[in-house]
């Protein structure tokens, strides 16, 4: 009993003594998602940096896999804005976003500036060989994804058994539909999810280092194309009717939010409307974060300070 008395008393004293401490203005709190690929994190943090350093906002980040889960969270009002949506991965857009025929429970705000392209890639040594490393070309006639069938025994793995192994999209939530694409194209490959973006790149780099043949999903803008010499394995040209047995279309990335958040934070919307990030700018920051393993906040702050002329134009 003594304990309860003390606890209550201590709590009372704390709240009386320290209650004056809170400094965040009401209505200046935002929740932004930390998605599960570095590019999206970087994009969002450039916006967040301006919000926190020049607009007195307090931003909380929530780690979530990109995909329908986040869209639903924004619609429900748990998260305020989304900084980098790749339309081709998100069939849910046609349910929610008016421009895509949805019910308007989410609203497109502006382009992000990032123009994405996705596909399947293989190291150059798989097709041409590399005499300096003593690697023979195992698949000299590999041009399209359908060609893979004749070389599948070179691409086997623990998990795939007799079939070939595709290092597929790392996250199920991204809805890449790799296995469906392979099956639809009649390619006898098993799509393996590595579980996280980092594990995905690590697996590719490890295989490259050992000179093993592999085929992997990748997208631009990304540093991986600077680190490894990769060749695209062609998919049939994008055709909406045949999806997912086709290539991805080019992705004009965009920012969106829920109508409630847009109404509540007009200043933020004005910033989001002017904010643009180019592929090259983003790729540079991704490289610092992924390859040099630096803290995202540190990298973004450094870039922002060096590029004041860029972010000044974003200010509302």
């Amino acid at each position: 009993m003594k304990f309860t008395f003390k606890a209550v008393l201590a709590a009372a004293i704390m709240s009386v003594g320290l209650g004056a401490g809170s400094t965040v203005q009401a209505g200046k709190r935002l929740v932004l998602p930390d998605l599960d690929w570095t590019g999206a994190v970087v994009t969002c943090r450039t916006i967040q940096w301006v919000l926190e350093n020049h607009m007195d906002y307090k931003v909380k980040n929530v780690s979530m896999p990109g995909g329908p889960g986040v869209w639903e969270a924004i619609r429900a009002g748990d998260i305020d804005f989304y900084c980098e949506a790749w339309p081709s991965y998100n069939p849910i857009k046609s349910e929610y976003v008016k421009e895509y025929g949805g019910d308007g429970s989410l609203v497109r705000i502006a382009d992000t500036g990032i123009i994405g392209a996705s596909g399947y890639f293989t190291p150059r040594y798989v097709i041409e060989g590399d005499s300096s490393r003593g690697i023979e070309a195992v698949a000299p006639n590999l041009k399209t994804v359908q060609d893979l069938n004749q070389y599948k025994h070179h691409f086997k793995s623990l998990e795939s058994g007799d079939r070939g192994n595709l290092i597929a999209c790392p996250e199920v939530a991204w809805l890449c539909e790799d296995q469906e694409r392979m099956d639809g194209l009649g390619v006898d490959f098993h799509a393996q999810n590595m579980g996280s973006e980092t594990a995905h790149w690590a697996e590719m780099q490890a295989k490259y280092k050992r000179g093993e043949p592999f085929i992997a999903y990748a997208w631009t803008p990304h540093w991986i194309f600077a680190a490894l010499d990769l060749v695209e394995v062609e998919l049939p040209a994008y055709d909406e009717a045949k999806w997912p047995a086709t290539n991805w279309p080019q992705d004009i990335c965009f920012k969106f939010g829920s109508p409630a958040s847009i109404e509540k934070h007009p200043e933020v919307v004005a910033l989001l409307e002017k904010h643009r990030l180019t592929n090259a700018q983003q790729a540079g920051m991704i490289y610092e974060v992924d390859v040099n393993k630096r803290d995202v906040d540190e990298v973004v702050a450094e870039w922002m300070e060096a590029n004041e002329s860029v972010w000044r134009t974003w200010l509302p």
Binding site: I13, G21, G67, S196
Partner: protein, 709 residues
């Protein structure tokens, strides 16, 4: 043993049969399984028509979509209330000067646990500052405080209710039993879909998850008050309610405190885990570190969590102790380090120094209390001398508390009017993630190391996981189901057999058969490895004091750590994938097996040694032929706990590449498909209940067969 059997030779065939019956039946079942497995072609899958007749996930999703417009406003309003409360506390902790918060957090440790625990608290709280995780640690603490406060209020109320009404108790008991079999993660699924991401879902899930121990112990504590005391109270004219409030509940306080201690540990585990549904705090650091393979960062977060877990455990444990130990009145000399280091002069001086400082602080504290007591006592003395001296005594008895209040007040005033406290100096911050990451890079690219870990991985995969996986997947669904139903019927009875049948039918009809077989084989392999490694370790600890001395603190720490932390070293050394998931599961599930084995062997009567000694058996023979067989019921309890922990881990390991039902839960959550998450979650729950009941029933029959009650 051999001799005794030879004497009763007439029944030797019967004896052989009863001794080897289990093996024989096992072998027959195995042979039949393999025959069916070989004979069966592709017809192993659950009938397609049954699956399409039971579109559970679609129906749930449909229902969810239909309910949402009505349900979501309500849950979000409730969530907003919780969020407001949470943010108030977090802001209080974060925006207040760190020096003041540090003092407030550390003082209870000094007050209840004495100097040693106090110093540990300073180190633990300081580590969050040094590692630059102050905000995250405060977020986790706030989530914990709110959850435990709610949980304690609801739990104690329910416990008191259950203690007063036998009917309520019989209703609550099976619910609590089931709640305690469920893996922690399961609680997050409904919380996520009802309350969305962030703090509210995490808090509400934690409140429910942490209820059982406090309800149980409150109920038990009140029921255990001797009837005589109750009678005495009533005979003095107290009503039932008066007797309950004035007599029974105060007597049950120690039990309730124990319940809170257990609740705290469970709450921390789930609050850390709740980072999966977007809850803030230390768990988030570990999660991000693991997703980015930034092992150093994950390790830092893990360390902060472990320190918090140990601190909270020790402080709430010390609070449960009857008398306070401020160490001020004691005579013996303070020890910081183990006694074996006493000979080192440096350490002696250090200890003496700390002790001296501590005594001086105590003196100052008493002085401050005297000063505080001076004025009110003087005022009261003018009216009533007796009251005045009583108040004085009371204040002096609580000199630690009064002095703490004075200290906090002085700090608050200093902060408010003089602004002398600064932010935590950047120069004092230290992050070891970069050296760890660099070291890991070197280690992982090292050819020998790569060969060793790959060897272990391949050995496990080709030797155990893959064959078992193929075997289980290759068996027709009806055979596996019937096999478990038969076991359930044999060890327990019709009720369990029915539950088992329904469980397997549900798993099959929701098209989760393949996933659940992966889960089953992962759990089997993990528990098998736990058994192979854990039992010898347990035996070793039972025989050797040194081994016990080394193992005990390790196991203690392992059992206070939140599940999440186990993934960090595994991903460091083995990378991601299904096999590392098994390794993490083994590390997590092994402590109960070691503990139960040690306990089982130790609690055997000493006469056994003497008897088998007199028969001329060696120590080893006694162990193998007498002690281990007799300890089997105890070991089985460990196996049961191991199975449950392995299943709980099943929902965590997808983070490092685990497959099976757990991954389905994850995928459902990140693709906003409540039906998918829910059916996989129910699948895990069903497996947990079936395996738990079967292994418990089996342990019970074993115990009865050995004449133990």
């Amino acid at each position: 043993m051999q001799d005794s059997k030879a004497i009763s030779g007439s029944t030797s065939t019967d004896g052989l049969w009863s001794e080897y019956r289990h093996w024989l039946i096992g072998a027959v079942v195995l042979v039949i399984s393999i025959l069916i497995w070989k004979a069966q072609g592709g017809e192993t899958v659950f009938p397609e028509s049954w699956i399409s007749a039971f579109p559970f996930a679609d129906k749930v999703n449909e229902f969810d979509r239909w309910m949402r417009p009505f349900l979501q406003p309500t849950t979000r309003a409730l969530g907003a209330g919780v969020t407001w409360f949470y943010e108030y506390i977090v802001d209080l902790l974060i925006f207040t000067q760190w020096q003041i918060v540090l003092v407030v957090l550390v003082l209870p440790a000094f007050a209840y646990g004495g100097l040693r625990l106090g110093l540990f608290a300073v180190a633990a709280v300081g580590s969050w500052l040094v590692l630059d995780m102050w905000d995250e640690a405060m977020e986790t603490l706030s989530l914990m405080c709110i959850s435990i406060a709610f949980s304690a209020v609801v739990g104690i109320a329910l416990g008191i209710g259950a203690s007063q009404s036998n009917r309520l108790e019989t209703v609550i008991k099976p619910i609590l039993d089931t709640m305690q079999t469920l893996p922690a993660y399961i609680y997050l699924i409904p919380a996520f879909f009802l309350f969305g991401i962030g703090a509210p879902g995490a808090i509400l899930a934690t409140v429910i998850y942490a209820l059982p121990p406090i309800v149980r112990l409150t109920n038990l504590g009140i029921r255990q008050v001797p009837a005589g005391i109750d009678e005495a109270a009533t005979s003095f004219g107290a009503t039932t309610r008066q007797s309950l409030i004035k007599v029974k509940i105060p007597l049950a306080i120690p039990a309730i405190k124990l319940g809170i201690n257990q609740t705290v540990m469970m709450a921390l585990a789930l609050v850390v885990l709740a980072t999966f549904i977007g809850a803030p705090g230390l768990g988030d650091i570990v999660l991000r570190g693991m997703q980015r393979l930034n092992v150093g960062k994950a390790l830092e977060g893990g360390l902060a969590i472990v320190l918090m877990a140990i601190l909270l455990d020790r402080v709430t444990h010390a609070m449960g102790q009857e008398q306070q130990r401020t160490d001020q009145g004691r005579t013996q000399i303070f020890r910081l380090f183990p006694q074996s280091l006493e000979s080192l002069r440096l350490i002696r001086y250090l200890e003496l120094g700390i002790d001296f400082v501590w005594r001086q602080i105590g003196r100052v504290g008493r002085g401050a209390t005297h000063a505080v007591a001076l004025i009110p006592c003087a005022l009261i003395r003018t009216y009533d001398t007796d009251w005045s001296s009583r108040l004085r005594d009371f204040l002096l008895r609580h000199s630690f508390f009064i002095a703490s209040l004075v200290l906090i007040w002085v700090m608050v005033l200093l902060d408010a009017y003089l602004d002398i406290f600064g932010n935590f100096p950047k120069a004092w911050e230290y992050r070891f993630r970069t050296p760890v990451n660099q070291y890991m890079d070197v280690l992982v690219t090292n050819e020998t190391f790569y060969a060793i870990t790959t060897g272990i991985k391949k050995g496990l995969y080709f030797g155990l996981i893959n064959p078992l996986n193929i075997f289980l997947k290759g068996l027709p669904w009806w055979y596996t189901s019937l096999f478990f139903v038969a076991i359930a019927y044999l060890v327990s009875g019709r009720a369990l057999a029915a539950i088992t049948l329904i469980g397997f039918l549900f798993i099959g009809a929701t098209d989760l058969w393949a996933f659940s077989m992966i889960t089953l084989s992962t759990v089997t392999v993990s528990v098998l490895i736990c058994f192979i490694v854990g039992v010898p370790l347990g035996v070793l600890a039972a025989y050797s004091k040194t081994a016990d001395g080394i193992l005990k603190p390790i196991l203690d720490t392992m059992q206070t750590m939140p599940v999440f932390v186990y993934l960090v070293p595994v991903i460091m050394l083995f990378g991601g994938g299904q096999i590392p998931a098994v390794i993490a599961t083994v590390i997590y599930a092994i402590p109960p097996l070691i503990r139960c084995t040690t306990l089982g062997i130790r609690e055997l009567p000493d006469e056994i040694d003497e008897v088998s000694d007199s028969f001329g058996a060696s120590v080893f023979q006694t162990l193998m032929k007498v002690k281990i067989p007799m300890a089997i019921p105890a070991i089985m309890i460990g196996v049961n706990q191991g199975i449950m922990m392995a299943l709980a881990m099943e929902v965590i390991t997808p983070l490092i590449g685990g497959k099976g039902l757990g991954l389905e839960v994850f995928t459902g959550m990140s693709t906003a498909s409540i039906g998918m998450s829910l059916q996989a979650g129910i699948g895990i729950v069903l497996l947990a209940i079936i395996l738990d009941r079967i292994s418990q029933a089996w342990t019970k029959t074993q115990r009865e067969a050995m004449g133990l009650s």
